[in-house]
Amino acid sequence: MQFRVLIYKWGSQNEFHFRRALEKLGVAYVEFEEKIRDYHADAEFAQKLIKLVHKKKISAVFSYDYFPIISLICQINEIPYISWIYDCPLYTLQSETLRSPFNYVFCFDRKYTEQLSVWGAVNSIYFPLAGESSWLLRIKEAEKREPDWCTKYQCEVSFVGNLYNGEKNRLSQAELSEYTAGYVEALTESQMLVYGYNFLKDILPEQVVCEIAEKCKLILGNNYYQDTARMVADIVGMEVSRKERERVLAKISDKYPVHLYTSSKIPKGLYKENIKNKGYADYLKEMPFIFHNSKINLNITSRTIETGIPQRVFDILSCGGFCLTNYQPEIAEYFEEGEELAIYTDMQDMINKVEYYLEHEEERLRIAQRGYKKIKEDFELSDRVKEIFKNVF
């Protein structure tokens, strides 16, 4: 009986490479793309999935991130449900289905992995994300074929990402009481000064938690374990990220031109001569060329990711790009500062490093090379996927 994996496709940018990794490993797979209407009770979805599981004799289901209804189905059919989590927070993980012994939750953030165990996950495995060394080869080929087309991606400093100032930032849209507004302001300003320790959830008094939860409608619903304080901390964390990204970009653009790729609305603070808003960047068609052609690629990790390495870092390095990133404990753990990428620990450090690495081209290129090598050696997706299956079977 052949081993066959069902990949649930929901539009994650990582799905393309995961499929290729399976092909590389010679693992048979089937893709399933049905939309879920209710995470716990979509009968139509359930039926279709079950049918496919039986028809194709599926040995395990895989998805990036976590879907309670898939967990339910896998539990009924007694096959493993493998989730690779790359978002934090991910509220579906607070589903009561998390406890299923058929769940294998691979989580990219060490602290979050521990939290999942606390919430009842039986197989909660700490598992950093990965890169794909073939990206750089394909980029080089494409650039050779069409050298002029890629010049539009050349720039000094680029940032690809969300500015967290849209609808999802419910905190900025809520009308908070004066006291809570002042509290949140000081709290976010403080967190911005500190890397490596996320204290937001430890420092929210009950009255502030209740008010924010109510005004931002932070309720998960019946099938979920409700951790209101944590949800409030996450929403405040998003606000910290919003401020941080704006400030970093504003500071850099005081002196240097910046290419900004975002679908977010541009805040007033970033209406600057040196900032060119290039709009949304397609993950497969454009991002690789952006990363390859920017002298410095910024990574400003979302503050809700406490210790983990975001996918962005692996993407930049896979494309042979030079990465300047905020300090994250796990980045410092796996990568050497100044050798494989550059890490900043405060705003002054950040701007000093932008200045330094724009001036020192040779060193910068060498660092990018070593960063790419690191991906190839330790973070190749197909190797990591192999590890995942080893862990489960």
């Binding site: 009481s177 004066e178 006291y179 809570t180 507004a181 002042g182 509290y183 949140v184 302001e185 000081a186 709290l187 300003e189 403080s190 967190q191 000064l193 500190v194 320790y197 204290f199 430890d202 420092i203 008094p205 502030v208």
Partner: protein, 387 residues
């Protein structure tokens, strides 16, 4: 060398004077109590008269006095100031700090760095000292041993803070802001952010609102006062929390100027004086706590050296210079959270031999490296009094 020594009742004055005597440094004493450190014409007159005698190589004081700085500058005589206070508790210190006759020695390197960055080149780093041989001679009678004996002792203020008074004149937003700043600082060890988060904008907001409340007022809340009030409040909370937690499980004796109403399980012993009683406390206690005032970001408070110099076992909050100068868990023990302090107290109360060994090693280090002879020599050298 002939010094004019300014005396005001500093704890360490006698020990310093003893050291001068031992080193055959001539000195004369000028005593004064300032009501207002920045305005005192009588002092200026009297002190200038003495300086006019023109027979001193320098003026020396424990802590910093702006009017001394002024007089010394006017009379072209060096002013050597060695402070054990942090903050310095001098309003508008920058008005006089820059005089070229000043040589100001501070025990906190971050404090020194701050002044250097603002252009004050005559501020130097100098850790404090203790007179170990004097403390060696402080013995305990049987009764005293019984009186001072304790599993854990803490000598220090509880900082009843003026923050509540300041908050009474703030709007709700500002109250929330200040509450958050203090809550964060309480949790954060090894990084002091109060001064960064209390921005000029925020201060303006408070003062503007106060003028709305009281249109006739001339009072403006200065940043240092608000910062200090926050730092004191956070320190107070940390001290109450930790003493509360420890006293629920262990014997804790508290020596403090303020009557303690809050800590039910702590044995309140009243105050204790620096020279006679404090060494007895340290010698008779299994564990001596140090919980540094938050605004003192890196330095080794006098208390920590006193404890070790008496052969006492020191359990202290993490301070960078303590970690630099002493080996953690070999010569003293540092904690990095309330929970950590609690665990370490439990552990070291159980492991008597290890605890005594740590106390012994700490004592030896202090005796060797932090004595007055050594530190005063460094002070005189840096101020060009000796070569």
């Amino acid at each position: 060398m002939k010094l004019l020594v300014f005396e005001w009742g500093a704890y360490t004055q006698e020990d310093i004077n003893s050291c001068f005597k031992k080193q055959h440094i001539e000195y004369r004493i000028f005593s004064w109590q300032f009501q207002n450190k920045n305005t005192d014409p009588v002092f200026i007159h009297s002190f200038s008269e003495v300086l006019k005698e023109n027979c001193y190589d320098a003026v020396f004081s424990v802590n910093y006095f702006p009017l001394i700085a002024q007089c010394c500058y006017e009379h072209h005589i060096k002013y050597l100031s060695w402070s054990y206070d942090n903050p310095l508790n001098v309003q508008n210190i920058e008005d006089t700090l820059g005089f070229p006759t000043n040589y100001v020695f501070l025990f906190d390197k971050i404090q020194v760095k701050g002044y250097l960055e603002r252009g004050f080149g005559n501020v130097f780093h100098l850790p404090l000292a203790v007179n170990v041989s004097r403390m060696d001679q402080v013995g305990l009678s049987k009764d005293e041993l019984k009186y001072y004996q304790s599993e854990i002792s803490f000598v220090g203020k509880l900082y009843p803070s003026s923050l509540a008074d300041y908050m009474a004149i703030m709007d709700e937003y500002s109250k929330g802001y200040i509450d958050a700043v203090c809550a964060v600082q309480l949790k954060l060890y090894g990084y002091y952010l109060i001064d960064e988060i209390i921005t000029d904008d925020f201060l303006n907001r408070i003062n503007t609102y106060f003028r709305v409340l009281k249109p006739d007022t001339e009072f403006t809340l200065p940043k240092e006062a608000l910062s200090y009030a926050c730092a004191a409040q956070v320190t107070r909370k940390e001290r109450l929390l930790l003493l509360g937690l420890l006293s629920a499980h262990h014997q804790v004796k508290l020596y403090s100027p303020e009557q303690n109403q809050i800590l039910k399980n702590v044995q309140y012993m009243g105050g204790c004086n620096y020279r006679e009683q404090m060494p007895k406390v340290f010698k008779a206690s299994d564990i001596n706590l140090n919980i540094t005032l938050k605004s003192s970001q890196a330095g080794m408070p006098l208390r920590t050296l006193d404890i070790m110099g008496c052969g006492g076992f020191l359990l202290s909050n993490y301070q960078e210079e303590l970690a630099e100068n002493f080996e953690n868990e070999k010569e003293l023990v540092l904690y990095e959270s309330i929970e950590d302090a609690y665990d370490k107290a439990n552990f070291y109360l159980k492991h008597t031999e290890l605890r005594k060994s740590i106390a012994r090693k700490g004592y030896q280090k202090v005796k060797k490296q932090f004595c007055y002879e050594k530190q005063l020599a460094a002070l005189f050298y840096k101020s060009g009094m000796i070569t």
